[in-house]
Amino acid sequence: MTQFRAFLIFIMMFGAFSQTAYAALPDEVLADPILEARARNLSKTLRCVVCKNQSIDDSNAPLARDMRLLVRERLVAGDSDSQVRDYLVARYGNFILLRPPLQPNTLLLWLAPAIFTLLGFIGFAIFMRRSKAIQAEQIKPLSPEEQTKLAKIEQGQEK
């Protein structure tokens, strides 16, 4: 049991370290831990426009660093999270957001998982119904000829 507890602590420590490993560079970190936490969370939702598939929090591109600093600057100036996001969307478009907003031209994107799940269920229902129909066909009663044939087999007269 103590071994297990030690193992748990080890895992938790590991988690804590991996958190700091991805942190912003030391000279970027804000003194206010609440603002810094907001800046980190915000940075994780913003795309690095140089590397395209990384957030500015993950990226080591110089432009991503300048964006992290800009995010912090604006938070210190008193902007809300959505104001900071809007500021960047005004300049880079929705592309800057790693999580696309729900709007008419992204409706299909957001509904696609539900649509495909539904299609899967429909396909499965059709498949089930068909295999049931095939089963029903297979267990229909024997015709008179078949019955006499079966009777003969049972009596061992025919192989």
């Binding site: 426009v49 300048d66 600093l69 880079y92």
Partner: protein, 179 residues
Amino acid sequence: MRIISSFAPLVVMALISVLLALGLRHDPQNLPSAMIDRPLPAFDLPPVRAEPDGLKRADVIGEVAMINVFASWCEGCRIEHPVLMRASRAGRVPIYGVDWKDDRAKGAAWLIRHGDPYTRVGADINSALAIDLGLTGAPETYIIDRKGRIRYKQIGPITDNIWIDTIEPILRKLEQEGP
């Protein structure tokens, strides 16, 4: 019914192929710019070259102009530089340089080495103007109309072909627009 269902996989595959073929034609690197038709943001950049010019918004406004973002560390900038030099020598259009995230001395040395096509040059060290322009990398070039609106954005180096096929027609169109 049986015939239709046996062709179904083929039809689905054909549809997927069409989708993928369309996807190949779509270049995800070509980002739509949110800044097109929007006014040039305010900026005031310190000088890069020996002369104390710098670059601010008011310098650019008034006639059709280009803002070219370059840097001494930028490989693509070397490719497009001869094209800008030629346009500059011909006096085609004022080109303003933004030396982005660069050591100013290195930027100045780069201009002496490769030639200087710029009417004025400013240094954007902390990406203040870059982010305001929606910049994604260097080189990038913006065409500004007489009223100071951003009308076109070229991502990546301007080649001779891009100049002839894209830049020149836009410049001509904007020059024909009233003041």
